[in-house]
């Protein structure tokens, strides 16, 4: 069934459209700082490197647009698959060959990974693009490259093992994308309109982010995950609640649905 899911995803035009949008958002900042455009001062006073110029650090136009559409990138890829199967009756064909529990598990895993991948793709591409423009100079706190001050997310790791740090940040983006995609999938067990299902993660993220930003300040979800802001217990809390909560909701309600 996993192979079937992958084939189905790669044949979706919307998936490739999202990849294209992500690629454009990732490449545009690279083109803007291409070495021919940069001056020698960029290297002399504040060495340009992929660690410094990476989208989430060097926040520019495209990163703000990326943040704005991030929930839609995550959900549009595959979050409506369950509603689509249910509405079309295709789910009946599947559950005659595999158990429903297995179907639900694989669907959740594929959707989670796909949501995360579509979100992470522009960031990886941007980092690779920056590597073509700048030498990979290691971060130095005393050279003025204060990207991650004390109190932010693991500053020591950023200066001692920057590659690991980037990978960890990418992993957090991946998990956030997976959770947003899973919110859509979980809602598809109660809402059968697949287009509403696609929009729900966007609305949920907007509402929750605005609420946390207004009333909880340092626990703002965009501040914790999308910006280079302070780190606290909000990160693991949101990840655990988001992942387990959406999985339980989807799995329990989905399993109770009468399929045949």
């Amino acid at each position: 069934m996993l192979r079937m899911e992958i084939q189905r995803v790669t044949r979706r035009p919307i998936f490739w459209f999202l990849i294209l949008v992500g690629a454009l958002l990732a490449i545009w900042p690279v083109v803007q700082v291409w070495p021919q455009i940069s001056s020698s001062e960029d290297y002399a006073f504040y060495p340009g490197s992929p660690y410094v110029m990476w989208m989430p650090y060097n926040i520019g136009d495209t990163y703000n647009i990326f943040i704005l559409i991030l929930p839609l990138l995550a959900s549009l890829a595959y979050a409506d698959a369950y509603a689509e199967d249910f509405n079309s009756g295709y789910i009946k064909n599947i559950v005659t060959k595999v158990s429903k529990k297995k179907y639900l598990m694989i669907r959740y895993a594929v959707n989670y990974c796909l949501g995360g991948t579509v979100v992470v793709f522009p960031l990886v591409l941007n980092f690779l693009g920056q590597m073509t423009s700048f030498p990979l100079i290691e971060n130095n706190y005393y050279f003025g490259m204060i990207l991650v001050p004390n109190g932010n997310f693991l500053p020591d790791l950023n200066y001692q093992h920057p590659v690991l740090y980037i990978l960890l940040r990418l992993f957090l983006f991946f998990l956030l994308g997976g959770i947003l995609a899973s919110i859509g999938l979980a809602f598809s067990t109660v809402l059968k309109n697949r287009y509403i299902v696609l929009v729900v993660p966007f609305l949920a993220f907007m509402g929750f982010d605005l609420f946390t930003y207004t009333f909880l300040g340092q626990y703002s979800i965009s501040g914790l995950f999308l910006e280079n802001g302070p780190a606290n217990w909000g990160i693991p809390t949101y990840l655990i609640v988001g992942t387990i909560g959406t999985f339980l909701w989807y799995y329990i309600v989905g399993d109770r649905h009468e399929t045949i």
């Binding site: 136009d61 647009i65 704005l68 696609l198 929009v199 609305l203 907007m206 009333f215």
Partner: protein, 279 residues
Amino acid sequence: MVPSSGIILLVIDMRPSRLFRISVGALFSLRNVWLGGGIYCAFILTCLMALDKQGPGPRGLFDLIADLYGLHGSTNQLMFVSVGIPMIVITMTQLMKFKDRGSFLTKMKSRFQIFHLYVIAAIVYSIVFTVLILLFSWAVGGLIAGFGNTWLRADGSVSWLIHNPQRFQSVLPHLATYKVVAALFVTKFLGFLMIAFLTLFLKCWIKNDGLILIVLVILAGIEMFGPFPISFFITPAVLVLENWINPISILFHCAYLFIVSLALYGITGMIYERRDFLS
């Protein structure tokens, strides 16, 4: 009557008043959208006003509704991105999904009537949505910051930002409560109308409603954060301090929104005249 698409249409008498009734009836029949959307909008607008209350300088009722910087507040850019665009896209696409069915289409006299059903719905929805947002903002904003018009006061935010008593006196006549409310109503209404017409236009080409939303949000994002210093989408519907100092600019904004809406109406109408409802 056998049109080019091959659909056999039952010609029935469809006076404009009846078309209006059908359109409005269809719009308000989307109860789940109204209910869910209403709760979501109330939550977001309250958060936006509470966020604006934490902003710099004196904060009065109209600051919470139409912050002078143009980003926060319940009728500014963040409102359009988080409330205006999603709600209009959801409502219009759900209405079209419901009414584009064959059983309904066969009762309409022509494609012209089908299109105008949506146009009437877009206009009515824009008016109702604007009124509801302004009323809710007035009620909640009043509870948070008081119901007086602090922009008229010397310790209000307009005076605080202008930093010039003489200039503030010359701006005062433009800040009368009824003028502010009228300007807000007209700009928001035209902004929502343009988004609704743009949704109708995009729906002719894009089947996936989520894709329509992402296109509109990207457009808003390009305008808000992009490298081009051009106001072409939601910014003309947002009023900042310069607009209140120079009210003629509000007229230009309204004229722009009206012309764009009119152009979208014409183009989408032409597309509808050739639309094949069978595919």
